[in-house]
Symmetry: C2
């Protein structure tokens, strides 16, 4: 038997290329990427075309709103352009947090995307976040309250404290989303920090 | 507070469309599809373009080899066109099984993709598989041995028996891949059927 290099791989070039591209996505290893590729091969070609066309135009279609930083197809985004939105600003870490809060229908105000949280070890300092822009918006848009909705992590809390200091001179109300036991959660499986927060933030019932 | 329908969703149209397309892939729910979409948004646009272009041309680039049924960019495929391949045919269920065996470097012969296994309950009958083509190839390509590499399932075994009968008149050697304990496997966690096979197929050591 005379093994003639791995010529099969050459014939599978497009399959390999697509597998390599898919495996760069988070949570997709080479195996699962390969499974997707073969699934696509066995699916109606219209699917690959639709996905391909969507991806080709994706970055041209989706921009960042210059006012709030959310992902949008129009600039300013529909939320910033809506005069009926209440004069509250909900501050979130990342643009993908905006639809999460919108879908909850809990909040009728505006948004401000920080672009991260202060994390000096990762090289993210206050000046890398859109905090100055937030300060300017509070004045310009006559905001009544800033709701800090960063994740309840050490970095999120640090960033919240920092923003609170920066906004002090505006004199407006600054709040932070409540942190505690998640609905449907189980006390037995709750970590100590969450439990501690739910104690400190306990609500009077009578 | 006056809720003005979910206008945010409209502004996120392309994000929603891409999420919906990704969530049609196996193993990707709406949540994980969304995570991929936001990852792509935050990645260099060249990535989305590369993935999009690959997908647009994918079904035009990848064909089925008319001789063996494997996925290929040229027809006949590089394996079928290679005169140095040994006159053995390895019969597999699906086209994606071919690169798995090629990568193992265990086999220097040709392939034949059945396109499935006999499963009457799923509406797959012998005439839906490329068994007649296999029979023709055995004669035409002067094959010496047919190695049946269908999965060791009830359907795989049924299909192997059926092919064995169909090829009887050719008089060639027909073999089936060994089934038994996987390398690195643990007897304690081996199912009864696999254990039974590994007993029946036990190999003499002296």
């Amino acid at each position: 038997m005379n093994f003639v290099d791995n010529s099969q791989l050459r014939s599978h070039n497009a399959i390999d290329r697509l597998t390599a591209l898919f495996s760069r996505l988070p949570g997709l290893g080479k195996k699962s990427a390969g499974r997707l590729v073969y699934h696509i091969l066995e699916t109606n070609p219209s699917y690959a075309r639709a996905l391909g066309e969507e991806l080709l135009s994706f970055h041209e279609t989706i921009k960042r709103c210059k006012n709030c930083g959310a992902f949008t197809e129009s600039d300013p985004c529909i939320i910033c352009a809506d005069p009926d939105r209440e004069p509250y600003i909900c501050v979130v870490e990342r643009a993908q947090d905006v639809p999460v809060i919108e879908d909850s229908r809990e909040f009728q105000g505006r948004f401000h995307v920080l672009g991260g949280v202060i994390a000096p070890l990762d090289g993210i300092h206050p000046e890398n976040l859109s905090i100055a822009e937030l300060h300017a918006r509070v004045r310009r848009e006559e905001i009544q309250e800033v709701i800090l909705a960063m994740n309840p992590t050490v970095e999120g809390d640090t960033t919240a404290l920092y923003i609170q200091k920066v906004l002090k001179d505006t004199g407006i109300t600054i709040t932070r989303l409540a942190s505690g036991l998640p609905v449907g959660g189980d006390l037995e499986y709750t970590d100590r920090l969450t439990l501690s927060r739910s104690f400190r933030g306990r609500v009077r019932m009578n």
